[in-house]
């Protein structure tokens, strides 16, 4: 057994560390922040680690569930949300945490995202926006900014991207926030908050992919990519959904956009709220 040394080691499957992530990939920064929030909840006694279930689809972001020392399911591409829905319907005591990329969650899984938010299903969805399909080599994603050249848009992306925060916020989700890997303290704070709520909770985490996206936009060096993203990120205190800009040129607004206490699907089905 590998010896525990780092303060988060007890939450990791150490035999799988180091991760397969490329050097300087922002996903590992986010994972650390998420585990610190979970650690805080567990040590306070507000979360039972035996009830935690991580679910990921396919992609670098989804693969996060492979590294956590919890019950976890690695399912097919875009289907992590329906898997988590099945799990919480079968066992409403579970705390389902879905991780996935912008391709997995907002692209192939976009329909599940919409309907899980509409139904206020009890789960936390963490969507990592690195602006491309990273694992498969940098194809255009639904979040790719206009004009950016990717593997499949060599002359620049001609399409308009989706703003997932605005989309999910317009539905019946109880919590909608956005953070960035350059602000790990906000990832920790927002996830900590989400862990204490019911219903559908969505956190978009803007991440760096120096290896693939960085190559496409000329920021191949992890530190350069990190620092360019950090320059663009602006925190706002409880901004409205209209302020939820995510644009490489105009800036990326992070913060807590939506906080509601609408009845969740499980509460409705149990008849405790209607």
């Amino acid at each position: 057994m590998t010896r525990q040394i780092h303060p988060l080691d007890k939450h990791l499957r150490l035999e799988r560390i180091p991760t397969l992530y490329c050097p300087g990939c922002g996903l590992g920064i986010a994972l650390g922040a998420l585990l610190r929030a979970l650690d805080k909840r567990i040590s306070e006694g507000t979360i039972n680690p035996d009830k935690v279930l991580w679910v990921g689809g396919i992609g670098c972001s989804s693969r996060m569930v492979f590294y956590v020392n919890y019950d976890a399911a690695h399912v097919i591409h875009g289907r992590a949300i329906p898997f988590a829905l099945g799990a919480v319907l079968a066992n409403p005591d579970l705390l389902a945490i879905v991780t996935g990329g912008d391709g997995d969650i907002a692209g192939i899984g976009g329909n599940h995202l919409i309907h899980a938010a509409r139904r206020n299903v009890d789960m936390i969805v963490l969507m990592f926006t690195n602006f491309v399909y990273a694992m498969t080599g940098g194809q255009v994603a639904p979040t790719t900014p206009r004009g950016v050249s990717t593997t499949t848009t060599p002359r620049g992306n001609p399409e308009y991207p989706v703003n997932a925060v605005k989309l999910v916020g317009s539905l019946n989700a109880n919590y909608v926030a956005r953070a960035s890997v350059t602000t790990p303290h906000y990832i920790e704070q927002f996830f900590y908050k989400a862990l204490g709520m019911r219903g559908f909770r969505f956190i978009e985490i803007v991440s760096t992919c120096p290896e693939i996206y960085g190559r496409h936009i000329g920021l191949r060096d992890p530190v350069e990519m990190y620092s360019e993203l950090r320059k663009r990120v602006k925190y706002k205190h409880k901004p409205s959904l209209e302020k939820a800009e995510i644009d490489w040129e105009k800036g990326i607004v992070i913060g807590e956009f939506v906080e509601r206490s609408n009845p969740s699907l499980i509460e409705i089905l149990k008849g405790v709220r209607s």
């Binding site: 590998t2 010896r3 780092h6 990791l12 180091p18 300087g24 920064i29 303290h185 530190v223 990190y226």
Partner: protein, 85 residues
């Protein structure tokens, strides 16, 4: 440098206040910790880990303010900060 077994050799320096430790074989030499440290404690070392990466060395440990930004921004759980009691 202390040897703590094959999987977990640590490069560690401390003042009377803080200890900064680097798990040598977890580091991927991304440089983010060096970049985010506000007081420039960390410098790329000449140590070569088992994957061929050079981990950082907290050579300027006297300047450490214990902010843990290096720990919180490392993508690979390779650096951590402790208060020395």
């Amino acid at each position: 440098m202390q040897a703590l077994g094959a999987q977990s050799s640590i490069l560690s320096r401390a003042t009377g206040k803080y200890r900064v430790s680097v798990v040598i074989d977890r580091c991927k030499e991304c440089g983010i910790c060096i970049f985010v440290c506000p007081t420039k404690v960390l410098v790329k070392s000449s140590v070569l880990n088992k994957y061929g990466y050079h981990p950082p060395d907290p050579v300027n440990i006297d300047k450490c303010i214990g902010c843990r930004l290096c720990e919180y921004n490392c993508p690979d759980f390779a650096i951590y900060v402790e208060k020395v009691v």
